[in-house]
């Protein structure tokens, strides 16, 4: 392969050109499937658009629909003051889920990772068992859990009643109070996904830090608290923020668990109306692409803020590790 024009070019230019040529597939994809659609959805967020008729510019009306009434609602404490109470409900459900699920998830997966980081016989079998649920996450698993949690024919409530002596076991997904905790429980079963990330992090902690701590006379607990834990804080925070972003995109479990139920998607009483579920409803049930695009952009801005937090925290981490190394 030799083109006369290429021959004349300098070596550096030829290298640059080849580099660009190899990344062209991604550049095309980025234009067609990322930046183009992003700009289009930004535009749609200022329009009334039902796919069939051409989009109609309505300025900030969609954003106004989402946010107006906020002051009255705060002042009176009455959610009916919101122009779109379901938008706020979906934010509330999402944050409520995140506030229970994420701390539990982080603590449990970290604890398991510490246990599974031991050198002992058969450790790989344990790791496999704990990791297993996270590779099959999705429809089949949700269907399974819906059956297990079913208050009439499921296996969990008889167990709670007969073995643990719980008098009135909850109605789980059929009870507005317990629907989100039920989803949390389902999520905890698949905790292995974040556990494996901690495990990777734990194996990356340099052993000379432990040696140094031992020389300084630190006992096991002090070594954990002063070496392992600080070294793991960036991974903790990373998992926390990524978990938060994932919660804003939470969808499959709710769809599978509730779309076939009597109350429909997000039931009972909107108690599982997650942000992404509400977005889906607006886009593909009501075909209100304009408002759905607005919701998508609000979601994007929330994610941007969370991402900015990651970057800020990573500064703190680099500094902290340097400190530790300096001491050792």
């Amino acid at each position: 392969m030799s083109f006369p024009s290429l021959q004349k070019m300098s070596l550096a230019r030829r290298e640059a050109l080849a580099g660009y040529a190899f990344v062209v597939p991604w550049i095309i994809g980025f234009l067609i499937f990322t930046i183009g659609p992003m700009l289009a959805s930004l535009y749609f967020s200022f329009t009334k658009y039902n796919i069939v008729d051409p989009p109609q510019w309505i300025g900030l009306a969609n954003y106004e629909k989402a946010f107006s009434g906020i002051w009255d609602a705060i002042r009176t404490g009455d959610p009916r003051q919101f122009k779109d109470p379901l938008f706020w409900k979906s934010l509330q459900v999402t944050i409520y889920y995140a506030s229970i699920a994420l701390p539990l998830n982080l603590a449990l997966s970290f604890f398991l990772a510490v246990l599974l980081n031991q050198k002992m016989r058969g450790i790989n079998i344990w790791r496999t068992i704990y990791f297993l649920p996270s590779i099959i996450a999705g429809v089949a698993v949700t269907i399974l859990w819906v059956r297990i949690l079913n208050p009439r024919v499921g296996v969990l409530n008889p167990f709670l009643k007969d073995v643990l002596g719980v008098q009135n076991p909850p109605g789980w997904l059929s009870d507005p109070e317990w629907a989100v905790p039920a989803l949390v429980l389902m999520g905890l079963w698949s905790v292995g996904g974040s556990m494996i990330i901690y495990l990777a992090g734990l194996q990356g902690v340099p052993t000379d830090l432990y040696d140094a701590a031992k020389v300084d006379g630190a006992n096991a607990w002090q070594r954990f608290w002063n070496v392992t834990f600080p070294m793991m804080t960036p991974v903790l925070f990373y998992n926390l923020v990524l978990g938060m972003i994932a919660t804003f995109q939470y969808f499959t479990q709710v769809y599978v668990a509730t779309s076939n139920s009597l109350g429909g998607l997000g039931s009972p009483q909107h108690s599982t109306l997650f942000y992404n579920v509400y977005l889906y409803q607006n886009a593909f049930r009501y075909f209100d692409m304009g408002y759905a695009s607005t919701l998508a952009w609000i979601l994007f801005i929330i994610v941007l803020i969370l991402t900015a937090l990651i970057f800020r925290s990573s500064d703190a981490w680099v500094y902290y590790e340097g400190q530790l190394k300096g001491r050792g």
């Binding site: 067609i32 990322t34 096991a220 499959t252 593909f284 695009s293 979601l299 994610v303």
Partner: protein, 351 residues
């Protein structure tokens, strides 16, 4: 417990309490893994149960049915009863109000014993219904869904491996002014929530006439994605440049270097992203739900969800399809476990 945790975190603990500690760890891990495995067991056993058992004996983790015995021409349930301190196998022939029952010895059905039913142990025998599987497969267009899922998964995987290899090679082996900036841009798309581009993509695919075909799930894979490019690039960077140089001296062009030097060296990384892609595409529900409308175009995930809606009362059939759906990822995981966990450790992101 606090002290225990501390010990666990030190890798080469040689203290005397080491043995005790490993015992405690094993105990915790074992009880936790029971909680992990019971739902799997429930899924498999329910898929093998008789529907009658699911209604009457739903909490049993084993596919079974009551043991019966012929008493005067009718089949009666068999119990292990205790009479005068002796254990015998008697049939329950009649329920009496107040939780009592009439029990008889099948050999001598004329002598009736009245006993409290709750105190006697009902006998069961194995009752495994393998035919639930063919029945479930025939109750839905299973092979059609499987075919669609395999097309989406493997054609998509080919497109992903092809495009991501090219792009990762471009980002790992060439110096150019804008390449670093482009790479940062690529990385930033990892955080981008797909919702922000999904609706216009839906509209675009609709204009192209691609909605309700498999194309929206496959074609974008041919244009690389940030996760896999990142993982492959990181791996390509570890391959010594001397190999490239030697090939260059022999007159190889960049494409030949990629094909004959880089890709053979990067086989573990390619397998790793391939597995990740399989799991992602196999389990994905959101995009197939949005893009596929008519039943014959569905993937297994969407098909199973709808099957669950239509056949709600046939739990045994739904569980049979669910088992079939989780078997391939589990098999793949077991056969590639080493590469798989390496891949997770390598990226620390996806998984």
């Amino acid at each position: 417990m606090r002290k225990a945790l501390g010990f666990l975190s030190s890798f080469r603990s040689t203290s005397g309490s080491d043995f005790l500690l490993k015992g405690i760890t094993t105990l915790i891990l074992a009880s936790g893994s029971i909680l992990i495995l019971i739902p799997f067991l429930y899924m498999v056993s329910t898929s093998l149960k008789d529907p009658a058992q699911i209604r009457s004996d739903s909490t049993s983790l084993l596919p079974r049915k009551p043991e019966t015995v012929d008493v005067n021409g009718t089949l009666e349930p068999l119990y292990r009863v205790t009479i005068d301190g002796q254990v015998r196998e008697y049939a329950l022939i009649k329920n009496i109000p107040g939780g009592l029952g009439q029990f008889v010895d099948p050999a001598r059905p004329d002598v009736i014993h009245e006993l409290r039913i709750r105190d006697q142990k009902q006998l069961y025998r194995w009752d495994v219904h393998w035919e639930n599987y063919p029945e479930a497969i025939n109750a839905m267009p299973f092979w059609r869904y499987l075919g669609n899922t395999l097309i989406v998964t493997f054609v998509g995987m080919a497109g992903m491996l092809f495009s991501c290899s090219l792009v990762a090679y471009g980002f790992s082996r060439f110096r150019a002014r804008w390449l670093n900036l482009l790479f940062l841009l690529l990385l930033s798309t990892i955080m981008l929530p797909s919702q922000v581009r999904l609706l216009p993509m839906y509209i675009l695919f609709q204009r192209l006439g691609w909605v309700d075909t498999l194309l929206p799930l496959i074609v974008p894979q041919f244009f690389a994605n940030a996760y896999d490019v990142f993982l492959l690039r990181q791996f390509f960077m570890t391959i010594p440049l001397e190999l490239d140089d030697a090939a260059k001296i022999d007159g190889a062009n960049p494409l030949q270097i990629l094909l004959y030097i880089i890709l053979p060296q990067a086989r573990p990384a390619l397998v790793s992203v391939g597995i990740f892609h399989f799991l992602y595409a196999w389990n994905d529900f959101y995009e197939p739900l949005i893009f596929l409308h008519t039943s014959e175009n569905w993937t297994l995930a969407v098909g199973l969800q709808t099957f669950d809606a239509i056949y709600t009362i046939n739990t045994h059939l739904i569980m049979a399809v669910s088992v079939l759906m989780i078997v391939p990822p589990i098999l793949l995981f077991f056969f590639s476990q080493r590469i798989f966990t390496q891949g997770v450790v390598f990226t620390g992101i996806k998984g």
